[in-house]
Every structure is written in C-alpha cells, then in structure tokens.
Symmetry: C2
Subunit: 423 residues, 2 copies
Amino acid sequence: MGLIVQKYGGSSVADAEGMKRVAARIVATKKAGHQVVVVVSAMGDTTDELIDLANAVTPIPQGRELDMLLTAGERISMALLAMAINNLGFEALSFTGSQAGVITDSVHGKARIIDVTPGRIREAIDAGSIAIVAGFQGISQDTKDITTLGRGGSDTTAVALAAALDADVCEIYTDVDGVFSADPRAVPAARKLKTVTYEEMLELAAAGAKVLHLRCVEYARRFNLPIHVRSSFSPNEGTWVVENHPEGDTMEQAIISGVAHDKSEAKITIVGVPDRTGVAARIFQSIADNDINIDMIVQNVSAAATGLTDISFTLPKSEGQKATQVLQRIQGEIGFASILFDDTIGKLSLVGAGMRSHPGVTATFFAAMADAGVNIEMISTSEIRISIIVREADLERGAKAAHTAFGLDADQIEAVVYGGTGR
Amino acid sequence: MGLIVQKYGGSSVADAEGMKRVAARIVATKKAGHQVVVVVSAMGDTTDELIDLANAVTPIPQGRELDMLLTAGERISMALLAMAINNLGFEALSFTGSQAGVITDSVHGKARIIDVTPGRIREAIDAGSIAIVAGFQGISQDTKDITTLGRGGSDTTAVALAAALDADVCEIYTDVDGVFSADPRAVPAARKLKTVTYEEMLELAAAGAKVLHLRCVEYARRFNLPIHVRSSFSPNEGTWVVENHPEGDTMEQAIISGVAHDKSEAKITIVGVPDRTGVAARIFQSIADNDINIDMIVQNVSAAATGLTDISFTLPKSEGQKATQVLQRIQGEIGFASILFDDTIGKLSLVGAGMRSHPGVTATFFAAMADAGVNIEMISTSEIRISIIVREADLERGAKAAHTAFGLDADQIEAVVYGGTGR
C-alpha cells in the first residue's frame, strides 16, 4: 500500500543472528503489502576497526582513501542483509550509495548530499524487490569519487532517500524504544514520547540527545517527511518526529517535551580580556579558523575600574587541547591574562515547543535546580530550549529534578511499558 | 621511462607491515622514473572470512550479492595501500574495478572481461599519481552490477589493465621467487626458470602449477604482453613469461621446462559400459550439464565377448560427490554395472616446448617411472605436455625421478641462489 524506508544501525546487524532478525522484520513489512527500501550501516564495530587499520599504515589518512576504505563496511552489511532476505524467499538487491544515486559534494569525511536520483532503487522496488542501500556514503558530483557523510550519516541517507522516493515514512530502527523525555539511564522515570516536532528534535539533538543526528532531522523537516524512531528488538510503536504535535494531543501536551543532558563538553574561560570592540570577534575567528565548534558563550560585564572582562565558552572535550593552543598563540596580540580549562562540567537542557506560551518555565527550572542544590554556571536559551552549565557531578541529579518539576515522570502522566532494554 | 603494472597478492598485503613493505617497493619503482599502476588483492584471508559470513546468513548466497560482498575485500586493501604510499610522500589514488573501467559479462563469481577502458587510470598516472586498482572485480556491461572474476582474478585484472594501457611489463608479485622447474617442496633440486613461454605456462597452469592463473596467461598471450613473476620479499629477478625463449638461450634450453604435480584430482571409473555409439556422449553431457569440469578421459578397448568397456576420467576431488550422484541418476538409462571413486591418485606432468622436436621424451619419462617403481594408471598428452596418473603416494617420488631424468636438477644446470622462502 505504501512505500516505507527503513534504516537499521550497526548494532542491529552486528552479527549473522542480527542480520537474520532484521531480515525477518523487513520481510514482515513487505508481506504487509508495502514497498520497502532499507538503508543499512556497517556491522557493529566495523567502521572503528577499519579506522584502526588506516592508522596502522599512516598517521594522517587522506580523506579520499579513508572514504574508500570506510565504505567497505556498508558494502559488507548490505550484501549480507540482501542474502539473508533472499534466504527467506524474497528478492532483495543491494546498492551502493553511488548506485542508489546519492550525489554529494566533494568534502571527504563529511560530504553533504546535493541530490538523490534513485532511478535504480525505484526500478527495483517497482519490480517487486526489496532494495538494500548502503548508508553513510555517496558519490561526489565533481570528482566522481566515493564520499562519506560523517557520523550518523546513515540516518541522513535514509531520510534523503525517503524524500526523493516520496516515501510515506522513514523508520529509523535503533536499540532503544524511541525518543525519551530524558535519558532513562540517568532519569529512571523517563517516558517514551509519542511525538516530537522537528524543531524539538533538533534542539534535543543539539542538546546532546543521541537518538537522531541533527542533519537527518533538518533534512526531514525540509521535506516534511515523518520519521518513526523505533526499536529493532520490539514490535512496539516508537516515537514519531513530525511537523506538529497531533491536534488531539494539544491539551495533554506537556510544556516541556524532554530533558537532555550532555557530559561531552568542556568549558574554557579567558580571564582578563580587554573590553574593546573587536576583541571577541578576533578570539572566535581564530577558533573558527581552526575548525573548532563551540557551543555556549558567556561574556560578563567588565569591571569599570579595570576595563577587563572574562569570556567563557563551551566546546567538545576532544577539542579542548587544540583550542587552548590556538588561544595561547594569540595571547600576546590580544593581551588577556590567562586561560582556564575545565572539563568537569555538564550541560542540562529543557526542550519543548510548549515553553513559547509559558513564560514561567525559566523560573520553575531554576527553582528546581536551587532546591536540588545544583549551582548554575552558564545559561543559554533559544525559543524552545533552555540550557545551563552545571558541575558534572550535579548533572544527573539536576536532570531528575527538572524532569519531576515539569511533570514529565512516567507515573505523573501515564504508565508506559517498555518493550526493549530501555537503553 | 616505462609504464609498469604491478600486481600484489593477498599474502603480500596481509597486514599493516606488509602494506608498508609493498608501498616502499612501489615507491622505489616510481622513483626509478616509471609510471606505476598497481593491482591489489584482498588482504590475507579476507575473502575466505567474507565467504564464511555469507554462509552464516544463507546456505546459497546469490551471485550478485556475493560479488558485492567479496569486492569489499579489495576495497579495503587498495585504500590502505594508497594511504601507505601517500605516507611515503607520493600521491596514490585508489580505484575500484568499475572506476578503472574493467567491463565484464554478467556471470557473477566468474565474470569474463569484455573490455577495459582505463581513462581514469591514464589520467591519474599522467598527472604523476600512482594508481591503485582493485583486482578481481569489474562491472557488468549489461546490468551495471558489480562482478568478480573468480579465483586468481587479480592476475587477470593486472594483465588486462597492462594490455589496455599498453604497459611495458606486467609484474606479478608473489611469495615465491618465480616459476620453478618443479614444486620445491616436493623436489628440492627444483630451480627457478629464467623464461617460460606462454604456451608452457598455460600447460603448467593446467597441470596444477599454482603460480599463475590460466586465464591471465591466456590474456597475456593474446596481447603478447610480457609477464614478470617475482617475489615481493626479494629484489631478485624472477621468471619472465614471454612469447618465445630468448634466441641466445636456445642452445641451453632444456627439452622439458618443468615438472608439475597435482594432488587435487580424483578418478571415477564407470565399469561395464555398453560399447554403443552415443553412450560416452550421453555420460559426459550429463557431467557437463551439471557444471562439473573433467580433466583426463581414458576408455579401454571393449572386451569382444561382452561388448562392455570401462571409462575412467579425472576431476577435482571437490566435484567427486556431485559427479557420482549424476552418474547414479543415469545408471538405469545407460545400463552400466558400477561406479568406482578413487581419490588417492596424483597427476604428474612434463611440460616443455622442446619436446616437440625430441621424440624420445615419452620413452625417457616412462623408463624413469619404471626405475622409480611408479605405476602409470592413465596417460594424456598434448603437443608440449605429457601427464600421467599415478598413486598419490608415488607422486613426489615420481616428480623427483622425472626432474632428474630430464637433467633439470639445479646442480645439473647451474647453481641457483634463492632469495625468498622457496615456498
């Protein structure tokens, strides 16, 4: 009846048993009368193992060759998955990113999709086959070289292919039951969300929720393509990522959809910065020139007596050393006093379209933090998100407190039965 | 000065150390002023491991999907090799069979090369790069699907590419020093040959010598392309496979170039076959219809009293069970008495262009076997080869005796210093 694009991650197809389980699931969808296109990642740790091999022959693998190497991973999993489906009596054909018409720019390692021309896929499914497509990869429009889309790229492949094929839904299979109101490992009362909006999902992804990759959600929003995030280990409904919460749900829609927390960031404080025009620009230009992504920035009011201020920003822990070196190089030119590096922070975020119409959210949030004894070090807000930086040791306690304060706990709303591992 | 195509097998690039060693060797060739195109196989046991994975998901992998799977092996090795060369400061670009223009028919698992259009390879080497090409694979002209050329296919890729690029030589690197007058494991006095003709090499390959694949030699002969078989572990000259032995070598050219022995065959004897027209044809048609390759056939004169004869043939041991079943199915129709299966035989072959002009070769050969106490069970001859079937237990003794009888032993001709492992 419909056309369904399904995406299975590496943990779902980590071994032959996983392949067979996923194959059965795909065949069940086909038997239900749908046309099925499947996007698959490399098996288990294959990508990491290939990177280890590359590092064994050279300290700096060229992007073109690294992409050639890494795309072998999906080639293996897609061929095996097609075989496993064939073994169940259904025809399946595997296609590389190039064969599937995934056309990208030439930026190896993090190519962006320019166009998708899925002629061979359409032909295969119209002939009754199940099409298996390698995630994460494409072919460069200019050089005709093989490219990869970067981490999480298979989700993007699935959504882009679903959009190009005008699919009814893109199902993203994972090892959790869907998108949760918080990470269940930290907040046991977290519940699975029935729906989240693209906007909320984007903010959740940016705030550190790892279920869906930012680019894939952006792509889905652009084409208004529904994503269904669900577990490959259970038949339960997962979470629908859609344009708007369904009409009927509006009344019971919580102000906050979810609480995200993230331990992957560090904080750098530049102490004693001269409060002159252009100084901040100079600092952050240097950071950007070195391809370092920063997240939150806070600048204090300068002390009138000294004309000096402090600037703090957060960034991925892994970029900390590089950023510190960049700043040391411009210390003389800028004339600041010192650099403080702190990697024991955590970021706690509230996300929800509902906060637009509820001005008291910030006050409730901060009060909950105060009651829980969690000190707030930095604050950053967007239209539907509030993020704070706290001590890493306080992070999970803060997440639980916020979850309860906004009435998100499972027993506060509904009893939810988890079918999966809850991880 | 020249254009050299080099082929490295899986054992040469089995690990990171092997990759680096091969990379250094390639760079040395480039530094000597040559344009270099390299064909590489999958690392070590990768292909076998991928086949195991396929067998874990289905008993009968589809050819198209199995080819998709197996080609991941060369993709990994070629990318790593390109990285290892880049790491030495030389530009290397890797290309899949499809990118290199290796166009085949659509017979998955044993595709034949139809055409080679190496435009991208030419472009890369003209720009000063070293081109690394995946062996063993191509793209089907009709279906645009990925194909593989079957075992030994990387040698064929190398020779086909060398022919298409009008290369000066195709160097086949292996773990032995070249082509030997016999297998040194069985005949310690075996010596490395300076040259063999295409014709001799074809007969040696057909007789069980494993150094070069039959198809690759056929291809080289068709384009009169010199092959240089040499060790990747030593700088020594190996064996040149050429149209004719060099003029100056004619006088010292032995009658026999080499002695090959092969334990991979079994013998089937069909006992009590009615000696009627068409019976043998019916038998071998059934065998051929089941894709079983047979080698030698012997039919005895029928006994006048009974009008019955025995037919014996040899075939790969691995096909024995299948062939026996085929014959049992037609036993009633043909009306023969019984089938005998014997997998304890060995095949011993003499090969040499010189035997054309030396009529006494057969007599010398058989006398040597008699002296060594080796019983001859079947005989088959071509213009430059004599093969006999003997007991498997007698095979190596027979090989040594033949080697000595034709004056091939190293101390009979020249002292040869082996640089490699001699395996």
